[in-house]
Symmetry: C2
Subunit: 329 residues, 2 copies
Amino acid sequence: MVSSKDVAKHAGVSQTTVSRVLNTPNLVKKPTVDKVMAAIEELHYIPNAHARSLVQNKTYTIALLSGPLHNPFFVDTTAAIVNYANSKGYRVHVQFVNDEKLNEAYTSAVENKVDGVVMSCILLDDPIFEKFEKMDIPFITYNRKHINNKHFVEIDNYQAGVLSAQHVLELGHKQIAWIGGPSTVSTFKNRYDGFAHTMSDHMLSQQYVIQTDTTKQGVKEAFEKLMHLPTPPTAICAATDAIALQTIDEATKAGFHVPLDISVVGIDNVDISKHGRIELTTIGSVSEQNLGYLAISELIEMIENKKNSCVKITESVKVFNRKTTKAYQ
Amino acid sequence: MVSSKDVAKHAGVSQTTVSRVLNTPNLVKKPTVDKVMAAIEELHYIPNAHARSLVQNKTYTIALLSGPLHNPFFVDTTAAIVNYANSKGYRVHVQFVNDEKLNEAYTSAVENKVDGVVMSCILLDDPIFEKFEKMDIPFITYNRKHINNKHFVEIDNYQAGVLSAQHVLELGHKQIAWIGGPSTVSTFKNRYDGFAHTMSDHMLSQQYVIQTDTTKQGVKEAFEKLMHLPTPPTAICAATDAIALQTIDEATKAGFHVPLDISVVGIDNVDISKHGRIELTTIGSVSEQNLGYLAISELIEMIENKKNSCVKITESVKVFNRKTTKAYQ
DNA sequence: TGCAAAAATGAATACGTAACCATTGAAGCA
DNA sequence: TGCTTCAATGGTTACGTATTCATTTTTGCA
């Protein structure tokens, strides 16, 4: 392992000068710079980022705690986050976390002294929130939110639930199902609340509400359960595009045609939903800004400008009316 | 920043003992362990991974240099790689690299003294290959391959090209197009070679071959160019599922029905191709093993067992006959 | 030419950990 | 009891860098 000391010896200068050549070359005479650079080239010297972090207390590393990639929402956000962070000179530790492994992920982030944490996977009442605040680690959540109501970037989830219900109601549906996820997660809770509120406003019962674990298998079972009911639903509001896409997959493979036999609407407006073969009707941010992008740009702002003001962004939403819903007749 | 020295002072022992409690507790008397653990709890001590790396010369970090996530192949592989690495106790630095930024990515990996590198984005003749070998950094490429022909995991790309052509030939097509990518990349080169060879075996001209930059825009232009030909192709062999999916998207939006108006076949057999609304006919590994998984498990094997034997895995392929191709009539 | 100010360089140190070597104390045994 | 062996612990150092402070060299100017 060739170190800056080796370079120094080889160039006939002190290690300090080598360090200066790399960090503040304007403080070093031109010929010295050349000498040192030549030695660096010759020895193939590459500075050790860990040693630097140790003394500078800065790692240029960000931890991303994302949901699983089989959910296309996290595909879009992960890409945006990693790319933006890299463009700003930060490396990204990526983890796809299921809720059980959350603590491990947190610890890993802290042990590595990351400069910041951007995460989706936070439970409504997760104690990690306080921990990060105490340790003075900048962080932000996207999509999901904590009860403390700080440092988040989200879409207006409640309103998304409202719009989802309204959309199929306006199409004349009465038997409307909801396929959601665990209510310990703010996203699922708020979207469902919006849905439920709208349904009861229209005096419609909620016999079709299913809470899944959002896995492929879970959605499959939910769909089958719904369709085996005496009077199956004619429209399904899915809590996320991921669930909507799974549902459509199941429906199609079970011989149903979407939207002729059943309407499906999602929430998130993920990229793949625009595909010509999918054309998923969904609810998404009016600005069509990627939530991951919003989160990471805010986080890096927090890191670099040490601003302590809370980031609270809630994007308003609208219906993206595509081809998976249809008027009830 | 609370350090192991602080813990030592607080527990009334030496820093060495604190280190031992965490790493080799069986060498420490029970009551001492308890004392130290109590101090650790009380002070919320968390060890500094960078300091540890510095002295141990081991980071438990792997760099992943992946292609962009808008290509579903990289969605599948990234998920597999990150999850497997995490399960083995490794963190993963993820970068989505375009070919220009390759060198930056390499440098970042080396500066951070990662334990290994797994990458897709290597050019056929990239000099980085030698560099990594010289620096004794374990690495492996998946999907793409280097001319040196070492340390790779791939599918049989040539044969995939052959099968792709054969498949549409057997369906009776004669006007067969190829939409590929830059031939500086092994994947594209070999797949095309297989396609081209099969075509010339059948005495068919290759007036329909287009090399794109694999971007959305590039594929769109390629498709439009093809369909504006006097006698447009009746089947399109796409070099990757990503290109096939883009092509189908364009075709659908341009009013064509796939496969009634035009057949499309991909290569890679990505997860999303199985979706009920997509049902992409494609060529993929017989074993259906995720290439990313193969690569990362081999890499970690190399890291932990210091085995120097070259990893050379070429998975054989078959046709996954789904619903985007149809007999020509 | 002489002197102060500024520029350029170097020596020493700190960051937080694990590893090596040294020391202490306890246990085992004749 | 006296000796050896082993368990338990501590002191010191190294890892590779940036930084602080000290020293040397150069520059500017009267």
